[in-house]
């Protein structure tokens, strides 16, 4: 494999876990400091253009790798592992469908949502919010899904009959909002525009903390 300065710098900065001076990088890679500067710029561009989770920061004439700020809150979640995680809009949609149409097959869920729902279904199974409730007597005997007791507990319902009635002609259109969660469940959905905003605010937050 040919010598790839960007790759080498990435390895060095990663392993260092701290800032490394331009001079030191120049020495190790046997390149001039100007060349190092260019390589760093190239690496930064690469990270940005490919939407990587890393970022190079420059501190005087030292460089350091850090996590990209748009992923701030996920990294933060690492420090608080017991935090109750919110469900994604996809998972909430899927859960609504199971709640209102149970027992229901994966096929029906996908028909209603109009997209493949393997991910959300597995996620809900893992979280114990839905479970298998038998098989449909039809070709292939597809699994039927039902909500669990854990579902009732999590959403503060004492029974499925506590679910609000939905007056839509077509039973298919169930909006996420119809299942109103406890406030703690009102976690942020990862809407596209939301996320980009988040970036700004994270920066803002950090700035604030520094200033305080």
């Amino acid at each position: 494999m040919s010598f790839n300065p960007g790759s080498v710098i990435e390895s060095i900065l990663f392993a260092a876990g701290d800032s490394v001076s331009r001079k030191e990088l120049a020495d190790i890679l046997d390149m001039s400091e100007e060349e190092i500067t260019k390589e760093i710029e190239r690496l930064s561009d690469f990270y940005r253009e490919n939407d990587r989770g890393l970022k190079v920061i420059c501190l005087e004439d030292e460089y350091q790798l850090c996590t990209a700020e748009q992923n701030y809150r996920y990294v933060q979640a690492l420090a608080e592992p017991r935090r109750k995680q919110s469900l994604s809009p996809a998972a909430l949609e899927t859960l609504s469908i199971v709640a209102y149409h149970q027992p229901v097959t994966r096929g029906s869920i996908e028909y209603i949502r109009g997209v493949n729902s393997d991910g959300p279904v597995s996620r809900l199974l893992e979280r114990g919010l839905i479970e298998e409730g038998g098989r449909l007597e039809a070709p292939g005997r597809p699994i039927l899904y039902v909500t669990t007791q854990e579902f009732l507990r999590s959403f503060g319902l004492s029974s499925l009959s506590d679910l609000p009635e939905i007056e839509t002609g077509i039973g298919a259109q169930i909006s996420v909002d119809t299942i109103v969660m406890d406030e703690e469940h009102l976690e942020e959905p990862f809407a596209e525009e939301e996320l980009s905003r988040e970036t700004n605010v994270s920066e803002e937050l950090e700035t604030n903390q520094v200033n305080e």
């Binding site: 990294v75 406030e183 988040e198 700004n200 605010v201």
Partner: protein
């Protein structure tokens, strides 16, 4: 000379089982068909050689010697046909089998001993806990309410009567709190931090003002925004994304 070579070899053995395997290999016999008399004799020779050179023979070697002698004596005794299955060597064979297996595994590990040597790892980052708990922070509701009163007062002067109760207005003009929450979110996305006064500046009607204020309070409660009443100005910043789904 002959004995010297022997002693050099002796030192290399990890244990009695390795010595035994060595003898079997030298005699070109399988572990499943141990010529017990011959092997026991050779094993004993080795131990003698040890002692001859005043080398310490660990108890494990002696233990196996005893075992070999025991097996030998059992095999020399006349046996009944049906007892064939109960070969006195069986226990030893299974141990040798297992030991051979481990030797092979050790070879595999030896080959991979430095597989991870060329990768470097990073120390964990110190991830700050969400240091300030905004909900717990001293928050001056009175200050916020009086600030809102000032804004309402200003609007009232601009806007002619009739006056109605807040809830009536909200209901009547159909300004939803959710839509005002979205308005606040948009402002925060654009400006990052907004002063309380600036937030209400462009709002012209009382129903919208009240709904916006309610939305702000709700967003504070849900920790979507942080309202800082500690400074000269009341500053609103966003804490996280979030929706207000329930109308009230």
């Amino acid at each position: 000379m002959e004995e010297n070579q022997l002693s050099v070899k002796l030192e290399v053995f990890e244990g009695p089982l390795e010595l035994l395997l060595h003898l079997l290999k030298k005699n070109k016999v399988s572990i499943y068909d141990i010529p017990i008399v011959k092997i026991t004799a050779q094993y004993m020779e080795y131990l003698d050689a040890y002692q001859k050179f005043d080398m310490e023979v660990s108890s494990e070697f002696l233990l196996l010697a005893a075992e070999l002698l025991f097996i030998k004596s059992k095999m020399l005794l006349p046996r009944h046909e049906e007892e064939e299955e109960d070969d006195p060597r069986r226990d030893l064979v299974s141990r040798l089998e297992e030991y051979q297996k481990i030797k092979k595994a050790a070879e595999f590990l030896k080959d991979h001993e430095f597989a991870g040597h060329y990768n470097f790892f990073k120390k964990p980052d110190l991830i700050e806990k969400k240091a300030p708990d905004y909900s717990e922070q001293a928050f001056d509701l009175d200050r916020l309410l009086s600030a809102f009163a000032v804004i309402l007062d200003k609007t009232q002067r601009k806007e002619p009567p009739p006056k109605t109760s807040f809830s009536g207005i909200v209901g009547h003009e159909k300004v939803s709190v959710t839509s005002r929450a979205n308005y606040i979110k948009k402002r925060l996305a654009k400006e990052r931090r907004v002063t309380f006064e600036a937030l209400f500046e462009e709002i012209k009607t009382r129903p919208a003002l009240v709904a916006t204020f309610l939305a702000l309070l709700e967003m504070m409660k849900l920790e979507i925004v942080f309202v800082d009443t500690s400074g000269d100005e009341i500053i609103i910043t966003k804490l996280r994304d979030g929706e207000i789904t329930n109308e009230f």
